[in-house]
Every structure is written in structure tokens, then in C-alpha cells.
Amino acid sequence: MAQGSLTMTERDGAPQDSSRRDALPDAEGRREPAEAPVDGVVLSEEQRRRRRSRSVAIAVVLGALCVLFYVVTIVKLGPAVLIRPL
């Protein structure tokens, strides 16, 4: 197969991505695959660690963006936001 490409295997009539099973935790909560994948890309420990750090960074940035939008909204509204007809 082509090096580095994700392989889709036909099983029960539906395409399956064997690498997806890596993301599912097993019964003990570990993120190791329950069984060895039939085919496809298997990430090394280093790649897995780096992917996780990238995911955490994206989460932090998105969280910070939410906080920024919230704070700027409050600043732009100003104290007059509470002065309105009931």
C-alpha cells in the first residue's frame, strides 16, 4: 500500500478506518487498541504524544478565545447594560 495513507477496509459492506479504533479507550480506560489493527497507519508513541499536545493546545486557544469574546462583550456593553426599562 501507499506509504502513510490511511487504509479503509471493507467489512460488512461499510468502509472502516482501522486507525479510528486507536482513539477508543478499552475497558480499563486505556487508549490502546483492543486488538491489533488489520491494516492502516499505527501511530508511534512519539506521534501519539505530539497529537495529544496539539489537541490540548487547540483546546486552550479555543477556551481563551471564548473568554476573550465574553470579556470584550462586557467591556463594549459597559455599565449601562443594567440601565434599561423592565
Binding site: 506509504q3 491494516d39 508511534s44 496539539r54 470579556v71 467591556v75
Partner: protein, 320 residues
């Protein structure tokens, strides 16, 4: 199954499967933002924000600064995406994430485009449209006009392209005031005329690198002597221009004194570069000018920043 998983992390660009799992770490993505360039952009933009007339809420000022920083970083990522072939053959840049094989060009392009669009949109939505338009133009100028067009086609690349690096204080000024003032134009001109002596000093002792990469820098095309002459001419224009905020009453006595002293030192180093043309002494003079030029610009803007934050009455009285 592929053998990607069994590979050691130490890979070369040739071995790196372009469509395989990413090897990029967070620090590689941060490196794409050119943090050192970004820090100078943030600093000059902060001066623009603080010297602009009128009041700006600290949260809005912070947001503007963040967007300018991200926009500048996005430009850097797009520059590295386009120039990966050049970076790979230059000693100064061959360890960057793309030529080192840790980030694919596609990842860098997606990262740069996402941050470019995001920074402009957020600046427009949360601060003002003029600042967002100026930031968008800055990114366009740096990536398309400088990186894609001028850099590989003319020895005047960094003269015209220097405008991209000169815009941040103007963007900061526009973010804080909603307009473009004469002082912000002066700040733009100072960085604009500072860029050629700064980069040409570097390119004089890195000329072999630029020649090997096929970049038509002035020393490669016109020779080191012409480059030395142009460095001196631009420095002669730069020094009085850098002092003009004081003479026009826009800056205080402290700025006048500092810009005079550091300007004289800058001119002395440019003359030294012009005079010493061969051997280790010539290379040392170029390195001194390159290093001092950074300190020169930083000092000028630092004094403007301090004056904007607090100007003793006796200094401001003498300055106007």
C-alpha cells in the same frame, strides 16, 4: 501496515511521508510564527497604540495587540510555506520546521491561512474595521508582494518589502484612535528606512547563502561595494528621520537626546562598514551594524513608549 510507526523521530524532509500522520509538535507550530520577529512587531504596535490620541480600554488594546501579533505570526507561517525551498539551502534557516521535515507545507499553509483570516476577522469585529483592513493589507503585502513576488525577482526586495514590517505601529494607532495620524506615518517611515541597512548588513556576511538559494539580494546582484554605499545612504536618511518626532514636537527631550546619540552611533557603524571592505574586520563591522540596528530601533521605540506612559513635566515642556 506502513512502517511509519516504527520510524524514529529523526527524519529528513525526503523521508517524511507528506500524507502520513503529523510529526509536528506545538513548538514547531510556534516556530512557524517567527516569535522573534513577532516580538518586535508587538513592541512597535504597542507604541502605536499607546501614543495614539484618545482613550482606549485596556481590554480592547490587548485584543488589538493580540490580533496584530497573530496576524504577524500568520504572515511568518505563510512565508515559511512559500520559501521552504530557499530555507532548506540556507544555513540560517535550514532547521526551520518545514525544511527539517517536522511540518508539511500543507500544514503550514492551513495554519497560516487560518490565523490570517482569524486575526483580521477578530480585529474587525472586536476593535475596528480600519485596523482590520490595515492588518489584512499588511499580511497581503508581506506574503504576496514581498514573499511571492519581490523576494525572488529584485535586489530592491527588502526595500519595498520593508513596508510590511513598518505597518504594525500604524495598525496599532488605527486600533486605538480609529484613524491614521502624522505621527503614525512617521513611525512607519522610521521602520521603513531602518530595514535596508539592517538587512543589507546581514546579507553582506550571508551573501554566499543568498547566492546559493538564488535570492537576488543586493550584495549578490550589485556586489558588496554598492551594498555598502546604499547602507550608508539609507542610514543618512534614517538618522534625521528618526529624530524628526522630537523636532516636530511629537516627542520629548529624552527622545531627542536618545535618538541623537544612538543615531550618531548607527551612522558611525554604517561608515565603518563602508570603510572596511575585506577580511575579518569587514565581517565584524557588518555584524556590529546588524546587531546595533536592532538595539537602535528598540531604543527609539522604548523611549517613545516610556514617554507615552509617563512624561515628566520638565521634559515634555522642553520637548514642545
Amino acid at each position: 501496515m506502513t512502517d511509519v510507526a516504527s520510524r524514529d523521530y529523526a527524519i529528513t524532509a525526503e523521508e517524511r511521508p507528506l500524507d502520513g500522520p503529523s510529526y509536528a509538535s506545538v513548538s514547531d507550530y510556534l516556530a512557524l510564527l517567527k516569535p522573534r520577529v513577532m516580538s518586535l512587531v508587538v513592541f512597535t504596535a504597542l507604541v502605536g497604540i499607546l501614543r495614539a490620541p484618545g482613550e482606549v480600554h485596556p481590554v480592547i488594546a490587548f485584543t488589538a495587540l493580540l490580533c496584530i501579533a497573530i496576524g504577524a505570526g500568520a504572515s511568518g507561517a505563510l512565508n515559511m510555506w512559500w520559501d521552504a525551498d530557499i530555507d532548506a539551502v540556507m544555513s540560517r534557516t535550514k532547521r526551520r520546521p518545514i525544511p527539517a521535515g517536522r511540518v508539511t507545507p500543507g500544514e503550514a499553509l492551513a495554519f497560516g491561512m487560518t490565523l490570517s483570516v482569524g486575526s483580521v476577522l477578530v480585529l474587525g469585529l472586536l476593535v475596528n474595521e480600519l485596523a482590520a483592513a490595515l492588518l489584512a493589507f499588511t499580511i497581503f503585502f508581506y506574503v504576496v508582494i514581498y514573499t511571492m513576488w519581490l523576494k525572488r525577482s529584485t535586489p530592491q526586495n527588502i526595500v519595498i518589502g520593508g513596508a510590511a514590517g513598518a505597518f504594525p505601529p500604524m495598525v496599532g494607532w488605527a486600533a486605538a484612535s480609529g484613524g491614521i495620524g502624522l505621527e503614525s506615518v512617521l513611525l512607519f517611515l522610521i521602520i521603513f528606512f531602518w530595514t535596508p541597512p539592517h538587512f543589507w548588513a546581514l546579507s553582506l556576511y550571508k551573501a554566499d547563502d543568498y547566492a546559493r538559494a538564488g535570492v537576488p539580494m543586493l550584495p549578490v546582484v550589485s556586489g558588496p561595494d554598492e551594498t555598502r554605499r546604499q547602507i550608508l545612504l539609507y542610514t543618512l536618511l534614517l538618522v534625521p528621520l528618526a529624530m524628526s518626532p522630537y523636532f516636530l514636537g511629537m516627542a520629548g527631550l529624552a527622545y531627542g537626546v536618545v535618538s541623537g546619540i544612538t543615531g550618531a552611533m548607527m551612522l558611525a557603524l554604517a561608515m565603518k562598514v563602508y570603510r572596511l571592505r575585506e577580511g575579518a574586520a569587514a565581517t565584524k563591522a557588518c555584524k556590529q551594524l546588524f546587531g546595533f540596528s536592532i538595539l537602535y530601533l528598540f531604543t527609539l521605540f522604548a523611549v517613545l513608549l516610556v514617554e507615552a506612559l509617563h512624561v515628566p513635566s520638565w521634559l515634555s515642556g522642553l520637548g514642545s
